[in-house]
Each structure stands twice: as structure tokens, then as C-alpha cells.
Amino acid sequence: MEPPVNSSNHPHVEFEHVSKSYDGRTLVVRDLNLSVAEGEFLTLLGPSGSGKTTCLMMLAGFEAPTSGAIRIDGRSVHDLPPRKRDIGVVFQNYALFPHMTVGGNLAFPLEVRGLDPEQIRERVRRALELVRLGGMEDRRPGKLSGGQQQRVAIARALVFEPRLVLMDEPLGALDRRLREEMQFEVRRIQRTLGVTVVYVTHDQQEAMAMSDRVAVFEEGRVEQVAPPEILYEEPERQFVARFIGDNNILYGSVVGVDGDFCRVDVGGGIVKAFRIAPSRLGDRVAIAIRPERVSLAPKPGVYHNEFDARVEDILFLGDHLRLRLTVCGHSDFIAKIPNIVGHGAVLEGDQVRIGWLLTDCRSLEAPGQE
């Protein structure tokens, strides 16, 4: 299949101030601004009902935005019906035509484009080989396993060589092992063909594993768009910090501001943190600290934050220990300690000293506070 072409320097896909309401009252998508580069793998990640599918359907042309514009290659697609957008769509429930064979399903988009039979047969064969289902042309979709059906659905969305492919939770119905295998597979195919993919999932690990960038959705709004590492290391919103990986969240009020840093009174002590939310003295903020960035018995003076803590319980997980601590009156503080100290070095009820770096500790907006 041909490498993608982009003659202009527009992003491949742009959402510009896009809002959507189904009933005219509640906004399901609010003022969405998002751009996707040529050949990029962008994932829309968010909890159920946050508007991911709606965004995809607007891009595919099945729903119209209530306001704002969607552009492909810099051109507004407002007046373009779905069949003219040339976008491959993989639906959540596959939507394979049950009365056609696998070959028939794949040939369908080529037949409606009027290709000659010889060419169609060749392209179908190649598309099936791409998803490692070579020779399955004559099977009925209903007789295939879930994973195979999924591959057929992907092959069908690719066989007419669209430059843009949308996938709505394509792996949602598969079991864990198959899912991980398919994540790898989808990524491989995307890299091979160089197509732009907009992918929807509510599984954060899937998003992290596959994407160039992830857009985190919450109630119709994009909270943050960033590559997976950045999303993990540098969450900008409390929702993102909670949604991506584990985070300890401590609430408190700002008692000192010093450029990029601030000091926050969390009740039983003062925490020094990166000042992400533009907070002023007295503002309520949320402090996010990753459990694996917490150190046990730190060398004095190395860490900016040091506290006394009581070990409430310990989970021995082989390569690491998971401690539940009480720190500054907060009893659900989690610390993941790599197992270099050995089993029995820390016991329940011990008083310990813990610490973490200023840079591993971010002060974010607290709910009801912008």
C-alpha cells in the first residue's frame, strides 16, 4: 500500500472549538480543540460517557458538530457525507456483514469504488495477509473467533487504503491475552502503513502502550493531550493524575509561593511542590505524589520533603513492597518500595521516615477551584 501523502503543512485532522449536544441542552463534547498529525497514533482515553465515541462519529461524519469546525487536511468536512470522507472505521462490535464471507466483506468497499475483480482479489488477499489471516476469504464472519473477527474488521477498514483510520474500542470485547497481542498487532500495522489512527479506549494501559499521544477526556472536555510518558510524569490536571497510574493525592492550602514552586499546608505538615495550577496564597490545591517515588529512610538533607509515618499494613509483592502509611494525618498514603531491603525489614506498626523529591510532587487544582 502506498505511503501517506500530505502536500500541505496542515495537521491531518483538526477539531476547532467543536461542541456537540444531542438534546440541545447538555453538551456531550465541550469546546474541543485537538489536532492530529499525519501518521500519528492518537488515542482518546476517558471514562464511559465522556464523549469519545461522539468525537469519532463526528469525524467519520455520522454526527454533525453543534458548533465549531472539523478539518481534514485543512478543509472543513462539514458538507462531506461519510462515504466521501474516505475514512476507515473499525466499530466497537466489528459490524462485519453477517451474510457475506470474509472475502465479501473486504471486497465490498472496493466493489463500490468500481475496481476490477482481478485487482479486488489481489487487494483482499494482501489485506488479509497484513492481519495474518491469509486464505480465510471464504469463511463466514460468524464462524470466526473474536480476535479473528477483529482482524477482519481492521483489514476491511484498511483495504481501500484510507489515510485516516478510526477505531472505537476495537479490542474491548477480547480477553486480556488476546488483547495485548492485538495491541501489538494494531501498532505494527499502523507503523507498516503509516496511516493516521484515531483510537478510542477507556483502558489506560492500552492507551499508554499504543499511542504516540493520548488525549484524556472527562465529561466532554479534553483534560490533557500528551505523549504517554509526559502524561504519566507530568499530569496537569488532578483528573489525569488520578486516571493515569496510581497517585497519592493530599489536599491542602497554599502557604507560600516561590516562582514555579509552592509550599502547601496539608494539615500535619508543609509539603513543597511543583506549582502546576496557578495558585495564590490561601488557595486550596491537590498534591499528587507517585507511590514509587516515595523513599524509605532517606538520607537526611537529600529530599525536599521528609515526614514521619506509621506503617499500617504491608503487601509483599515480590519485586516490591506496597506499604500503606499514615502521613500527616492521611491514612491512605501508598508507597511502593523496591525489594532491595528484603522481607521483614519493615514491619506493621513501625514508625518510619519517608521522603520524596520536590520534582516528584505536583500541586494541581483542587475540585471546585480553578
Binding site: 462515504r83 463500490v112 481501500f160
Partner: protein, 399 residues
């Protein structure tokens, strides 16, 4: 163990017992009686047993022997006395028309004759027909207990002089043309119902729930209205002085003296029956359409198909089980339809079932009526088997 298994089965059987009894009494028994009647008719055989026994050895060409004449006249006179001769004469008459009066008149005369030299002479002098072989062949045929003559009759076949089966001469064929007409009209009505019902079912299946319910209600209203009311409404609408003609005349589209005859002919039958049978097409098609996820059409559009392409390649094939069920239903119902053609069909709009009714009620030729009914039943079964072979009956969706 076996007892424990059998108990629920027994209970299930007990639950459907009343229904089974009902079906047995009102459906199976009449059906069996009808099928029997179409091939079994002991009337003549029971009344003229000795005559028929003697005719058994007759060569079928010459005039029968004196013994035959003597026995026949004795049995005819006795039958006249116990009043069964009329029914015998009717049956013989159906084989060879004209013989009813011959038999009745001869029996009346022979009754008074006490002693003669030759019964043969006596009978031939009463009615010369007794001297002809075909009269006796007719009695022989009518005397068959198990008989195919009703079926032959129903298929416009007859036996010629040497007993082989041939078609009736064209001007005397009645039932085959009628059967052909019935099948053709039924096919036409089925196609009409499909053309009218499919878009309607589509509309209902894709309407928002409230409107869909309303539309469905409108489809069902005819079901809840008396068939007679519906049929007479068509008379009001379609008759020469009816609403449609009046309107057309008032609009100046047709002249007053050229009013179109739309009722009491085939047009009336087709229009009224299509109306009556439309729900039987709409409901199964609708119920299949409702199970087709709209996602398929979206998928087809995203793959580049226009609506007509998507419809033809993706939607229509998936509705076929409903189309099959609806068509089969409408077709089967219309080949046996009676009341509507009887009321609005006039002369040219009659179907085979009207002929069956005629033989049941007017001519009282129940054997022929039963044979015609069985042939109709055979058509339905054949159609069902054909459908099963081609589409598979398990793919049929009635709702």
C-alpha cells in the same frame, strides 16, 4: 430415575391436552374426513352391489347380459323404495351427464312392471340409453368405492372409451384454468403486498419509538375491523356509482358514461385482498428489520457505499428471512381466500375456493369439493417444501 424424568413430561403433556383435543376435533378430524371423502364414495357400490358384481365380468363394449339388466332393475326399484336412488342417480350423472333422469324415470316405470320376458327389452324400451355401453361404464365408474374420479374431475381430466386418462377438450376445462388463475392472482397479490409493505415496514422500523407505535397501530387497525366492514367499504369506494368514480367524474378525468368498473371483477378481488393481507407482509418484515443494527448501514457508508448500494448489498439481503416469511404467508392465505372474492369478485374475480364453496353448498358434490381442497392443500405443502429447500425454514422469521 426414569420416573423422575417422565413426570415433567407428563405434566407438559397434560397442559396441552385440552388444546390437543380441540385441534383433533376441529382440525385433524375434518381434514382426514375431507381427504377420505375425496377418494372414497361407497354410495353407489352399497346400493347396486349385485349389478356391479355382474358388470365386473362384462367386456365393457357390448350390451351386457340379461342377468345384468334383471339385477339392475331389481336393485334400482328397491333403491327407489328406500329413497337412496336419487343420490345414486346424481353420482352416475356426474360421470355421464343426462343419466340422472334416465335412471329415475326407468325406476319409476320398472316399479310397475311385474313380469317380463326380457328385462333388457323392457329397459331399452323405457330409455334407449340402456342399450349403450357407455351408460353401463358410467355406472361401473360411479360404483368404485375407492375412486380417483374426483381428482380427475378436479384436474379437468377424463377417461376415454378405453379407460386411459386424457385432458378434457379445451372448452370443457374449468378447474385447471381456475387453479392457474388463483395461483397467478395470489402471486400478484404477494408482489403487491411486498411492494406496498416493504417500504412501510422500513418506515416503521426506523421511526422514533412513539411514531413507530402509532404506525404499527395503523397497520393493525384493519386486523381489528370486521372483514365484512372492510370489504363493503371497498364496495362503497370502488363501485360504478362509488366515491372513486364520482371523484374522477367530478374532476373531469373521465366522462360520466365511461365510469371505470373496479369492483365485481378481478380488480376488485386484487385490491380488496391486498388490503386485507398487507399486515401479514408488514409484520414479519418489520420484525426482521428491527433486529438489523443500524450500525451495518453506517459501516457500509464509511466503506464508501451510497445509500442504494448499501441498501441492495447490505440491508436487503438481511431482510430476506422476513420477506420470505411474509410472502409465504400472504401467498398461502390468498390461494385459499374465499370471502373477499365472493363479495367483490363478481364473475371474473372468483378463485378456486369459491368453486369449492359452490360444490359444498350448491351442487353438493362433496367429493369434488374435497378433491379440490386437497389439491389446494397439496399446493401449499409443495410451496412450503420448496421454500424449505431454497431458503431453509429455520431462517424464516414470523415475528
Amino acid at each position: 430415575m426414569a420416573g423422575a424424568l417422565r413426570k415433567p413430561q407428563l405434566r407438559a403433556a397434560a397442559l396441552v391436552l385440552p388444546l390437543s383435543a380441540f385441534i383433533l376435533a376441529t382440525f385433524v378430524a375434518p381434514l382426514v374426513t375431507m381427504l377420505t371423502r375425496s377418494v372414497y364414495d361407497p354410495m353407489v357400490a352399497d346400493t347396486l352391489p349385485e349389478t356391479l358384481a355382474l358388470l365386473h365380468d362384462w367386456d365393457g363394449q357390448s350390451t351386457p347380459s340379461e342377468a345384468v339388466f334383471e339385477t339392475a332393475s331389481r336393485e334400482m326399484v328397491r333403491a327407489r323404495e328406500d329413497r337412496s336412488l336419487g343420490r345414486v342417480a346424481t353420482r352416475v350423472n356426474r360421470v355421464e351427464s343426462g343419466l340422472r333422469s334416465v335412471i329415475m324415470k326407468s325406476a319409476r316405470r320398472l316399479h310397475r312392471v311385474k313380469e317380463v320376458d326380457s328385462w333388457r327389452e323392457a329397459m331399452i324400451s323405457i330409455e334407449p340409453e340402456w342399450g349403450e355401453a357407455k351408460t353401463w361404464r358410467a355406472i361401473q365408474r360411479a360404483g368404485e368405492r375407492i375412486t380417483t374420479r374426483h381428482y380427475l374431475h378436479a384436474l379437468d381430466l377424463q377417461r376415454d372409451a378405453d379407460g386411459s386418462i386424457v385432458l378434457q377438450p379445451p372448452q370443457r376445462r374449468v378447474y385447471l384454468p381456475l387453479l392457474k388463475r388463483t395461483l397467478a392472482v395470489s402471486l400478484g397479490i404477494t408482489v403487491l403486498c411486498l411492494l406496498l409493505g416493504y417500504p412501510l415496514a422500513y418506515l416503521i422500523a426506523h421511526a422514533p419509538p412513539r411514531r413507530a407505535n402509532l404506525l404499527l397501530l395503523l397497520v393493525l387497525v384493519p386486523f381489528w375491523t370486521s372483514l365484512l366492514v372492510r370489504t363493503t367499504s371497498w364496495i362503497v369506494l370502488l363501485q360504478t356509482e362509488g366515491v372513486v368514480n364520482d371523484t374522477l367524474v367530478a374532476l373531469g378525468l373521465i366522462a360520466d358514461e365511461n365510469r371505470i368498473s373496479m369492483i365485481y371483477n378481478m380488480t376488485g378481488t386484487v385490491v380488496a385482498m391486498t388490503h386485507v393481507l398487507l399486515p401479514f407482509m408488514v409484520l414479519p418484515v418489520y420484525s426482521v428489520m428491527r433486529t438489523i443494527p443500524p450500525l451495518y448501514m453506517s459501516a457500509a457508508a464509511s466503506l464508501g457505499a451510497s445509500f442504494p448500494q448499501a441498501f441492495r448489498r447490505v440491508y436487503w439481503p438481511q431482510t430476506l428471512p422476513g420477506v420470505g416469511a411474509g410472502s409465504l404467508l400472504v401467498f398461502i392465505l390468498s390461494i385459499g381466500y374465499y370471502i373477499t372474492p365472493a363479495l367483490v369478485g363478481g364473475q371474473s374475480g372468483q378463485l378456486i375456493s369459491n368453486m369449492i364453496a359452490y360444490h359444498m353448498q350448491q351442487s353438493l358434490n362433496w367429493g369434488l369439493a374435497a378433491a379440490l381442497g386437497s389439491i389446494l392443500l397439496g399446493c401449499v405443502v409443495a410451496l412450503y417444501l420448496l421454500y424449505d429447500r431454497v431458503v431453509g425454514i429455520d431462517r424464516m422469521r414470523l415475528g
